[in-house]
């Protein structure tokens, strides 16, 4: 069965580029455009991996991450934070909250990001 990836990101263009490339890679993609929907889908669908932006409408990425890791049912799901925030404090906090890794968007090519996703899924 195809592995599911939940992509929580409010940029539609990114949802499209990422969705397309990962679907072609054989993954099933679920998308959420805000933190609230994201959290609901995490509980309902229990995806194999979560890709999470930090600046999101309704509930921000930090809180989504915190709640996911607090819930015993969802805390094992690896979370990759994909962001443009670059403050040392923000990134440290993300790891402290239990994210597998973080990627600063402008520093990586799409290929490199896909590589990291595969690694987090143990492939």
């Amino acid at each position: 069965m195809a592995k599911t990836i939940l992509f929580i990101e409010d940029e539609l263009a990114l949802q499209k580029t990422f969705g397309d490339i990962l679907r072609r890679g054989g993954y099933e993609m679920i998308s959420a455009l805000d933190g609230e929907t994201g959290l609901r889908l995490i509980k309902e669908k229990k995806p194999n991996l979560i890709l999470l932006d930090l600046i999101l409408p309704k509930i921000n990425g930090f809180d989504v991450l915190k709640k996911t890791k607090e819930n015993p049912e969802t805390k094992e799901i690896p979370v990759i934070v994909l962001t443009n925030l670059e403050g040392v404090g923000d990134l440290d906090k993300v790891i402290e909250l239990g994210a597998t890794t973080y990627l600063v968007k402008t520093q990586y090519s799409l290929e490199e990001v896909v590589e990291k996703i595969k690694k987090a899924l143990g492939e």
Binding site: E11, L14, T17, F18, V88, K105, T106
Partner: protein, 315 residues
């Protein structure tokens, strides 16, 4: 209104907002000026009443003089304050704009990645050429935005640093292998010479990587045709010394004193249409000085340049 008034009285907070040290901050200087005026008034008054016949006239003169001085001082500091505020707003503007530009540029760059990967259908050779131009230019925009963000953080005094004990040598080796494809393509040879048992330094690995990357990038960029880059890392007294020497176009003598200025680009660099934002060396100098190091260079036009920096060891 009341709250604003109280906020204005908090001098350290105000100075921090402008990113200025106390001795450069208008509010603090005004306070000091006021204290000096009050002090000198009181002493003049004491001396006057003791040695001059009619103390009331002396007191009156002193009072009038002080008031005038006070008003002048107030006007001067107000104008300084406006300048500082304008400068702060400029940095803030640069920061917001560059931050906002990052998302659209990433979208652009990743969309180009997808097209180039051929996943969305076969790409003709002619199309690949144009896609490469798009990709190259989006990378340039990403670099520029990254540099602008670092500059605005430096100016605001909010560049976060994480000090840890690290060795510089692995960072240089990593950068050499990262630049290798670029270097081979431009027919440049790289030599790296590192001293034995080099000490570690207490700095931020990420920031020092930015510095070396900028110097390295310049060295390659300004070599036209074949050339050679020599990198040296050694201990010199109580400092770690880094040097990068290139056989590039060099910096004209008249331009040398401006080379670390923000946005400055030397006349021969522009003439030869070498790309660059003029921010790299400004960033490098700011970072090195932040770690109490020194940075400098020697250069001769058409012969090449040598850039060096030192970092203190015992910290």
């Amino acid at each position: 209104m009341n709250r604003r008034f109280i906020e204005e009285l908090n001098i350290t907070a105000q100075c921090k907002r402008y990113g200025l040290s106390l001795w450069q901050c208008p509010q603090f200087l005004f306070l000091i000026m006021g204290l000096i005026i009050i002090g000198s008034t009181l002493s003049t008054y004491t001396i006057g009443t003791r040695y001059i016949e009619d103390p009331e006239i002396v007191a009156l003169i002193v009072l009038i003089l002080t008031t005038i001085l006070f008003i002048i001082a107030f006007i001067i500091t107000r104008s300084f304050e406006r300048l500082a505020e304008a400068n702060r707003m400029k940095s803030e503007f640069v920061k917001i704009v560059s931050h906002q530009l990052r998302s659209p540029i990433t979208n652009l760059s990743w969309a180009i990645d997808i097209l180039m990967s051929g996943e969305m259908g076969k790409v003709e050779e002619k199309q690949t050429e144009y896609l490469k131009i798009l990709k190259e230019n989006s990378s340039r925009m990403i670099d520029l935005v990254k540099d602008l963000l670092i500059v605005s953080r430096i100016e605001e005094g909010s560049l976060m640093i994480k000090r840890e004990k690290i060795s510089i040598e692995p960072i240089i080796k990593k950068l050499i292998s990262r630049f290798e494809p670029f270097v081979l393509a431009s027919n440049v040879e790289i030599k790296f010479e590192a001293g034995e048992n080099l000490p570690q330094v207490f700095i931020d690995a990420h920031q020092i990587e930015i510095v070396i990357e900028n110097l390295f990038d310049n060295a390659i960029r300004y070599i036209k045709g074949e050339g050679e880059i020599k990198i040296k890392l050694k201990q010199r007294d109580k400092t770690l010394y880094f040097e990068i020497k290139d056989t590039g176009v060099g910096i004209p003598k008249d331009d040398q004193k401006f080379i670390f200025q923000k946005f400055f680009r030397s006349e021969n660099a522009i003439r030869q249409q070498t790309q660059g934002s003029g921010l790299g060396l400004f960033i490098a100098k700011s970072i090195i000085e932040r770690f109490d190091g020194q940075i400098g260079f020697e250069s001769e036009e058409n012969k090449g340049s040598t850039f060096w920096f030192t970092l203190p060891i015992n910290q």
